[in-house]
Symmetry: C2
Subunit: 432 residues, 2 copies
Amino acid sequence: MEKIRIGLLGLGQVGGGVYSLLTRKKAYFEREVGVSFEIRKVAVRNLSKKRPVKIPKSLLTTNPLEVVEDPSVDVVVELIGGTTDAAKLIKKALQAGKHVVTANKALLAERGDEIFELAGKLNRWVFFEASVGGGIPIIKTLREGLVANRLESLHAIINGTCNYILSKMTSEKTDFAVALREAQQKGYAEPDPTLDVDGSDAAHKLAVLVRFGFGGRIRYKDIYKEGIRSISAEDIAFADEFGYRIKLLAIAKNGGKVVEARVQPSLLPKDHILANVNGSFNAILLHGDHVGDVLLYGRGAGSFPTASAVVSDLTDLARRFSSMNESDAFLMRANAQRLKVKSISQVLTRYYLRFHVLDRPGVLAMISKVLGSHGISISDCVQKERRHGGVVPLIMLTHGANEKDVRNAVRSIDRLKFVRGKSQVIRIEGDN
Amino acid sequence: MEKIRIGLLGLGQVGGGVYSLLTRKKAYFEREVGVSFEIRKVAVRNLSKKRPVKIPKSLLTTNPLEVVEDPSVDVVVELIGGTTDAAKLIKKALQAGKHVVTANKALLAERGDEIFELAGKLNRWVFFEASVGGGIPIIKTLREGLVANRLESLHAIINGTCNYILSKMTSEKTDFAVALREAQQKGYAEPDPTLDVDGSDAAHKLAVLVRFGFGGRIRYKDIYKEGIRSISAEDIAFADEFGYRIKLLAIAKNGGKVVEARVQPSLLPKDHILANVNGSFNAILLHGDHVGDVLLYGRGAGSFPTASAVVSDLTDLARRFSSMNESDAFLMRANAQRLKVKSISQVLTRYYLRFHVLDRPGVLAMISKVLGSHGISISDCVQKERRHGGVVPLIMLTHGANEKDVRNAVRSIDRLKFVRGKSQVIRIEGDN
């Protein structure tokens, strides 16, 4: 089993998540992935700060150099953010022979050239899955999954704060200031939200995506950006009337040596897949010359989603030192235990039931009674196109019910003399 | 540079796509990915059949054993489909020391145990990205991107034929038979559509996803499945009234040693991300214990999307023989040429323009004239809440226009004496 020794810079939201994930799931990673992660040293600013994670005092230091220069550390994970100290520490880590994992999009966008040039020269790896789209495996997809493709364009919702605010403004018809306050109260926006709402954060991420997606560096400051402060509830309402929603999009188009790269509020047709990415979710829509459109969607921020991406990078790194690779581990899983499939009769969901019934008094009551006697309760009901004496559809939506109970009830109902034809039973998913 | 010698079984839609992609982009793969792909032998059923791809006669054989037993072949790519011959040939290939790439979900679902057990015993790799979701990198995401997560559930639209039919039934209010005929005419459904519309194809793919996502085998025949033949236009209309769309979903829930696995038409709330996956697109929504919800979306079938997945597998295999790995190639890209960003003033999109104007005769004409004089043409226009003499919003959507022209025009308009405040300019994306 490969052993990876980690030095952690920062124990905030993301750093705490990484520490917690690696320690809680240590046995899981050893057994299922074939990698043993050991955290050797953690640099923090304040030793006595109360933290949500339990961590041995002996691991902590306030001197980040102790982490990047520790000879027993293989990989430095940089999660302090900012560009000045982070750049200095990452370079020192590379020079000390460490590989680096970082979530720092500002750093990669503004000082990526120096970092990647140094890494290339020293033959070290810099991994950064967590820098764009939180837990979404977008960097791996660009690097490996779509390797056969020339990327022609990307359209991305990569700032969760703006998407949360715009979603709120849309669903609650409120203005920017109100939605921003709510986002701040819920922790989706910083007390100073400038970096998010003026589009800088999205532009940082776009610079990273273009560099690796199109295979060329662009100057961060060349990216045109507009924020969402000027968007009003009125604009959202008018856009809606014309069949559009407003989203902050990061857009890039590959034109060879000249690319388009911009961050802007944009109207999108309501049935566009990106128009339906709501709340704090992120999504990146790629267009490759062979694969066509591919979209990846998920949590763009948060302690655990981001930690998930950091650990994916650490595992990728571990494979590079190891004789065992991910396919071996994966094959082990393929040949693992046999699982039983739960009988469909025990599956619990909500149901849509449609009956064709003669339109007579007492029909609704009778059918409700049969359902009730099988323990099925009704959440919604509608009877349509009343034609006295004729056959009319009767639709019922149920609360969560057992497949077996539903089948038995419908069988009984289908035998009632005022029921015509076979009744329809369709499950409801996604809201229970 | 690593050289990979390939034997191809099948030169149909997907096989032809793989052959075409590997030959057309040969130089690209050598330069950007560091792998040289060479096709050594291709087994076909009929030597004289006309094919869309040009291929030297000397590469073709009607005897598939010549491919799987060719000592100069490193990797056998199986694209003939079916379970009997494919299983025989894949096993022979593994026994002859080859690695295998396959797109064959039926085979993996029904006979995966023998294949993966033999591969494990012989220490060979079987890769199968193309077996689920066409060009969507779902297998890589399960294997690597979400390696830190225990997968708790998945909800997937993985049969493009059914999704195309249900989308048509929804948008055009037609019945199943009509939509099926249209799907057949457009090549989205087979002349005999049974495997697709009865849910078998989706169940095959679900078996593959569960095996690798949950880490355990399930018996394909234990998966409960319902097709979409019984769904009527009436059901879709009623579902719509209640706020739902109907989709064929493949669903699995991880319950440890007992899992839920079923394929069923399902009602989904209209604002659910999966409810907005339309036409022949596929999407897989995963829920991991750390990353939360992640969705991958793209073309689930087709010659080039599927070939994109096959080549991603071939590249992954190549890395396993090679001293150079994907991070090196990726780092090369990171340190590649500098790209210019196109000036925003040259970017062409449609626009939403909102003016606040005094409600007077001639205002609309005057504004239209200014836009026209800058070469901007109007596609839609609405003036709201007419209050004679008061200030009213006037909204115009434009056809494709140049940023620079729009800025200049709006600057002129903002100077008109009946225009109040600063006008709003938002780009429209996704429908041009």
